[in-house]
């Protein structure tokens, strides 16, 4: 089941690398949030406890409800145009993503021989980190950079479940809150950027240099 969810997660990454629409990014973030929530609930289906629900519930509220809504609101308020304004052609971007997937999955299977890891979630998580970085590098719009950062965070989360690290619940929630506040601050900054400068893409942020 964990593998199925991870593969669905990978598919969402592929969709991200071909879609030219800003709205689609928000939808994908929502889907990824749902996938991660299911992933967290899975181990508790057999032995249910109230305590175990806290983390998936927080994750669901932050990653599926609050953050996508917040981003939607920013898009609406700032009247951001629908296309993502890539700096390289979409086809080349897809090639790049596929190429990185191949390398990451190969590396994961080699690494799994020496250490006990779940190959598919491990590789999918890592792939999401890489795709997130590609999105930040090859897209001009700042709001898409925020989405790229969130994809990267989701990847790390998936990756964390793959290495079976059990952080205490308090810290996991702390991590989620931190991510939420980062996005919140970025949203405020975006608002200010659109009123201070003309536009919302990286090309306007060229004042500071030596």
């Amino acid at each position: 089941m964990q593998n199925v969810l991870s593969i669905l997660f990978c598919l969402s990454l592929f969709y991200l690398s071909v879609t030219p629409r800003v709205k689609a990014y928000v939808t994908v973030l929502r889907i990824q949030g749902i996938l991660l929530t299911i992933l967290l609930i899975l181990p508790f289906i057999e032995q249910f406890s109230i305590f175990a629900v806290i983390l998936p519930a927080t994750l669901f509220i932050i990653k599926v409800i609050i953050i996508p809504r917040y981003i939607d609101k920013i898009i609406l308020e700032l009247d951001i145009k629908r296309t993502i304004e890539p700096t390289i052609q979409q086809f080349n971007f897809l090639l790049l993503v596929i190429f990185s997937f191949i390398i990451i999955f190969l590396a994961a299977s080699i690494l799994s021989q020496s250490t006990e890891i779940e190959i598919i979630p491990f590789a999918s998580g890592f792939a999401a980190v890489v795709v997130g970085i590609f999105i930040i590098i090859f897209r001009k719009k700042l709001i898409i950079h925020v989405a790229g950062f969130l994809v990267l965070e989701n990847g790390i989360f998936l990756f964390g479940t793959a290495v079976a690290s059990e952080l205490p619940i308090m810290i996991e929630i702390g991590v989620l809150l931190d991510v939420f506040v980062v996005v919140f601050l970025m949203g405020i900054a975006l608002n200010r950027i659109s009123s201070t400068f003309e536009g919302f893409d990286v090309t306007i942020l060229r004042r500071l240099k030596d």
Binding site: I156, L167, D178, L185
Partner: protein
């Protein structure tokens, strides 16, 4: 529990109180009281009068005691001068933002103390990210385009960097697979005890990810750009806070993982990475000192340079390691004096361009002379503290197995000194503009703070208190270095 409340809970409560109180003066009074209390408790913990017993994921060791004292000290002075700084006129937009200043400062103290005292990698990560979140809005104090851009870049770069550090922490978990620690919590002390049993491949990967990720926050090249932009555009108390205390909190994370690597076979590899990082930072400072024409940026690059020297000292090991620990202290004091006086210059000339500033010594005699002395101090001229710590680092390099590092470092530092001096002297002396009227500069609290800090810089360097020496010796011992 008492120490836990004073160090961690009260700053958090104070942040909430600052939100409720409207008057800046009362906010200042509360924050100053708390900072004094914090400084007092970290001081008695440092000198060993009080043995703290912290709950949950927190604990103290010689390293965290030293870093906690540095944080408290920097924070106290920054809060002390903040009120007179806030009185300076700014745009109406920025005026409205002042009400969040002390709230964020108190939250910063809470987050940074939690990061320094944490004994758990997860806790450290959460707290370190929280420090970024509290500092980012403070960078945007002036509410102008440059500040906004600096804040965005800092927030984005550091958040991505620290996400990488999280991957490093997960790798660390993987390195414990197959040992008795599998499935256990990520406590530093546990990892240090069982270091030799960890899987070396994952350990190395973990070190690289944590080092690269946190170096966005430490400001080590090649990840320094966000940090330089932020330090140069933030108001001077915040720049002093970042250079003096925030960077070393990030350094603490790197030192924790380095400590785990100490008894393992990956030790030499980690040392090499730190040396490369340090030398690269020096090289970046060397290049940009030639072309930079903004004095706040100049000071920011000086921070890159000194954090580079510290990283280099830690990487070289031996006596250089102890020197690096002294350098952490002196650098934090010295950065405060430099940024405080630079803030005064900015207030008088309303520009950060070197070309717009002339004859500071004539126009602002107090600030001018103190700025000159701070420059001497940062250039490691005796009797200021940095001279002694750099001497120790250089001696360590000379007697290490890689003495060529000393040659490279000396070469780079010489040109950094010449270029920095050339620029600063141009500001201090130079022809006075005919039109500028001479107003007599009054003695302010900022001057008082700078004088006390300069005296501290000399006194700690010359007297070298026994308690400090003992502390640094025990830190070195924790890192497997017997001096």
């Amino acid at each position: 529990m008492l120490e836990f409340s004073i160090l961690i809970l009260i700053p958090l409560i104070a942040a909430a109180v600052c939100y409720l109180i409207k008057s800046i003066r009362s906010q200042y009074a509360i924050s100053l009281t708390i900072s004094a209390l914090h400084l007092f408790s970290s001081f008695i913990i440092f000198i060993g009068w009080y043995k703290p017993n912290l709950p949950f994921f927190f604990s103290t060791d010689p390293l965290s005691k030293l870093f906690l004292l540095i944080l408290s000290n920097v924070y106290f002075w920054v809060v002390l001068i903040s009120f007179s700084y806030l009185k300076r006129p700014v745009t109406s937009k920025a005026e409205a933002g002042k009400k969040y200043y002390f709230l964020l400062l108190n939250f910063y103290l809470f987050a940074n103390t939690a990061a320094i005292l944490s004994n758990h990698f997860g806790m450290y990560w959460v707290a370190a990210e929280a420090t970024t979140l509290s500092v980012a809005p403070l960078i945007y104090y002036y509410r102008n385009g440059e500040a906004l851009e600096a804040m965005w870049k800092y927030l984005f770069l550091v958040s991505v960097g620290i996400a990488f550090a999280f991957i490093g922490i997960l790798f660390l978990t993987l390195s414990a697979n197959g040992t008795t620690m599998e499935g256990h919590q990520l406590f530093f002390s546990e990892f240090v005890k069982n270091a030799t049993k960890l899987n070396p491949v994952w350990l190395k990967a973990s070190f690289i990810f944590i080092f690269v990720g946190l170096s966005t926050k430490i400001g080590i090249a090649p990840m320094h750009s966000g940090d330089v932009d932020a330090t140069s555009n933030a108001p001077s108390p915040i720049a002093a806070l970042m250079s003096g205390s925030l960077r070393i909190t990030a350094l603490l994370g790197v030192m924790r993982i380095f400590q785990i690597l100490t008894p393992t076979t990956s030790y030499e590899f980690a040392k090499l990475i730190l040396i490369i990082g340090g030398l690269l930072s020096l090289a970046v400072a060397f290049i940009f000192m030639f072309k930079v024409n903004n004095y706040k940026r100049l000071l920011a690059y000086s921070s890159v340079e000194h954090l580079g020297i510290i990283t280099l000292g830690i990487g070289v090991g031996g006596l250089a390691f102890a020197g690096a620990m002294y350098h952490v202290i002196f650098n934090s004091l010295n950065k405060m004096v430099l940024f405080f006086t630079a803030g005064n210059i900015h207030n008088r000339f309303k520009t950060r361009e070197v070309n717009g500033v002339r004859a500071v010594i004539n126009l602002l005699p107090w600030t001018g002379w103190l700025f000159l002395l701070s420059f001497f101090a940062i250039s490691a001229i005796p009797p200021f503290g940095i001279f002694f710590s750099e001497l120790m680092i250089f001696e360590g390099m000379l007697f290490s197995d890689k003495p060529w590092i000393l040659a490279v470092t000396m070469f780079l530092l010489l040109f950094i000194f010449i270029n920095m001096g050339r620029t600063l002297f141009q500001m201090l002396y130079g022809e006075k503009d005919e039109k500028t009227q001479q107003e007599k500069e009054s003695f302010e609290i900022i001057h008082f703070a700078v004088i006390v800090l300069l005296i501290l810089l000399i006194a700690i360097g010359i007297i070298s208190p026994g308690i400090l020496q003992e502390n640094i010796l025990s830190i070195s011992k924790d890192f497997g270095i017997i001096l």
